[in-house]
């Protein structure tokens, strides 16, 4: 087994200073302290397309937007049970992210799988924001442990439990891995490049399907997102 413990571990505030962000390198492991909120397509559409006023003061209350729906329930008396939290794939939100960063002032986008370095350079870098990816991605129980309190649930009626904006107080919330830096480079893209170099060999002895499909590419260094 390789050395899984060699990565730099950082405790980071959910409202990080530009200096703290500049210190982070691709592949660093991050644990968060402060407040994060969930917002995904439901909240983006409501805020950006329908123009609904934000239900919380951003980025004052939190600078960390988590692409997530928690495994949680609200009993009839209003008691909230929150178990595990796991991110959802972020690339699907790329069309809203520039506007969202401008509106929310978020400095940290937390999610699954990252976005493209083109997105980072175009949208994240100008707003001084970076992307932290969750790990696994199934580390929902570990992340659940880092939640100390559910502060609020906004737009629950309008968007349902899964798409609502959950405001979570967190401590030592992680692990996350630094996927994009202040330069807009992507860890995933760096890894993809290394892997692509060996793919031709793996494909030896295989054959393209006799019946082709529209949109097919044979360039395996292409991404599907």
């Amino acid at each position: 087994m390789a050395d899984a413990g060699k990565f730099k571990k950082v405790r980071l505030s959910t409202e990080p200073t530009p200096e703290a962000l500049a210190d982070l390198k691709l592949g660093d492991v991050v644990y968060l302290d402060g407040t994060v909120y969930t917002a995904r397509e439901g909240a983006y559409m409501r805020a950006l397309q329908d123009g609904a006023p934000l239900p919380m003061t951003l980025p004052l209350e939190s600078g960390a937007n988590f692409h997530c729906s928690p495994a949680a329930s609200i009993a009839e008396d209003g008691t909230i049970a929150i178990g595990a939290v796991t991110a959802t794939a972020s690339f699907r939100f790329s069309k809203w992210i520039g506007e969202w960063l401008a509106l929310s002032g978020a400095k940290l986008i937390l999610g699954k799988g990252g976005m493209t370095s083109a997105d980072y350079k175009r949208h994240f870098v100008p707003h001084g924001a970076i992307y932290l990816t969750t790990v696994g991605y199934g580390t929902g129980a570990l992340l659940g442990r880092g939640i100390t309190r559910v502060k609020d649930v906004h737009w629950r009626k309008e968007l349902g439990l899964a798409q609502a904006m959950w405001v979570l107080e967190v401590s030592n919330f992680g692990p996350f891995i630094v996927e994009s830096d202040m330069n807009g480079d992507s860890l995933f893209e760096r890894e993809n490049k290394k892997i692509a170099a060996g793919l031709a060999k793996v494909y030896e002895g295989t054959r393209p399907a006799v019946l082709k499909r529209f949109g097919e590419t044979d360039d395996r260094s292409d991404e599907m997102i």
């Binding site: 087994m1 390789a2 050395d3 899984a4 413990g5 060699k6 990565f7 492991v29 997530c68 729906s69 928690p70 495994a71 949680a72 329930s73 009993a75 049970a81 929150i82 178990g83 595990a84 939290v85 796991t86 794939a89 699954k112 799988g113 990816t133 790990v135 696994g136 991605y137 199934g138 580390t139 929902g140 129980a141 570990l142 992340l143 659940g144 442990r145 349902g160 439990l161 899964a162 891995i177 995933f188 890894e191 993809n192 290394k194 892997i195 060996g198 793919l199 793996v202 494909y203 002895g205 295989t206 054959r207 393209p208 399907a209 006799v210 019946l211 499909r213 395996r220 991404e223 599907m224």
Partner: protein
């Protein structure tokens, strides 16, 4: 007569167990993969996952925040009679799903595809799926719940006999490489491959191959078993590990199931049962006994039979 209350009670327990406890066979497979992993980032991810399973068990919380789409595989012994009949059975499974969603809690993932209506209980039109199988003999019902996650990692393609094994390999690799990047498939996974049948049954076979067979299990056809081994190794030689980082842990195991198909075609489906390979099984007997186990034992000689009639082979009587 099998008691409907025992069925519902058992189903609720299974829902929680599936969400919280990673099955032993997958855990053992993942530990082996972690030992063999030589990519450092991928190793870090696997280590975090192993800690995560522990945390989930200790805290009795779901292992993954995306608790997937709960579904039921129901198998009935030929002599089973259920109190209230199949309608009561389906209601009990739907109720168990709704109750567990509130109590564990699970994420209310299920929504209407167009109106996005969410009942906050994982129940709705066609949800949870309930699929049936039968076995000769026996007054029992097997309840298996699978909480399949992952919007990525599944694909279907109509291949033809002339595509051959080389074509099957190509599509297999294509699926792993496409969905393995950035770890969208949440690998390492149990990969299920369906071959043959029709388009719909091919998907069903592949999904069942991924979700209803345990790590280490081999197809009884020795040539298919050899392919399973070969494909496992091939998947792990792509150079990709957990989260799409450089490494060698893509595939915990590969299972292939086949069904007779149209003479001109060779349907193929690929499914990935993710890092949260959640399943839980119990048998409820007519006399009220409940036995829990990890292996769904779905693919019995009876399920894979080729003949018109059925004569139980002496050596497989235990499956009934």
């Amino acid at each position: 007569m099998i008691s409907i209350d025992v069925i519902q009670e058992t189903a609720e327990k299974l829902m929680a167990q599936a969400a919280i406890e990673i099955p032993d066979d997958y855990l053992t497979g993942l530990k082996q993969a972690a030992d063999a992993e030589d990519g450092d980032l991928s190793s870090f991810v696997l280590q975090a996952m192993l800690e995560n399973y522990e945390a989930a068990k200790e805290d009795r919380r779901a292992m993954c925040g995306d608790t997937g789409c709960p579904r039921w595989y129901v198998k009935l012994g030929n002599d089973a009679r259920i109190e209230g009949g199949p309608v009561a059975l389906e209601e009990a499974l739907r109720r168990a799903t709704a109750n567990a969603t509130q109590n564990v809690p699970l994420r209310p993932n299920r929504v209407h595809p167009l109106w996005r209506t969410d009942h906050d209980n994982n129940v709705g039109i066609g949800a949870p799926e309930i699929e049936y199988g039968f076995e000769p003999g026996g007054d029992w019902i097997d309840l298996t719940t699978v909480h399949k996650g992952g919007l990525f990692g599944t694909d279907y393609r109509m291949l033809f006999p002339s595509d051959g094994i080389e074509g099957i390999k190509r599509f297999y690799l294509d699926s792993l490489v496409a969905f393995g990047k950035r770890g969208l498939a949440c690998q390492p996974a149990i990969i299920g491959i369906g071959l043959g049948g029709s388009k719909d049954t091919c998907m069903v076979l592949g999904k069942r191959a991924a979700c209803l067979r345990t790590v280490g299990d081999r197809n009884p056809d020795p040539k298919i078993a050899a392919l399973e081994e070969e494909f496992k190794e091939l998947g792990n030689s792509i150079g990709m590990g957990a989260m799409g980082f450089v490494g060698n842990s893509m595939v915990i195991d590969c299972h292939i199931e086949v069904g007779y198909c149209h003479t001109g075609g060779m349907q193929m489906s690929v499914h990935a049962f993710c890092l949260s390979s959640r399943r839980a099984v119990a048998r409820v007997h007519g006399d009220g006994r409940v036995e829990h186990r990890t292996d769904p034992e779905w693919f019995t000689p009876f399920q894979r039979r080729e003949t018109v009639g059925w004569q139980m082979p002496e050596n497989s009587k235990k499956s009934a």
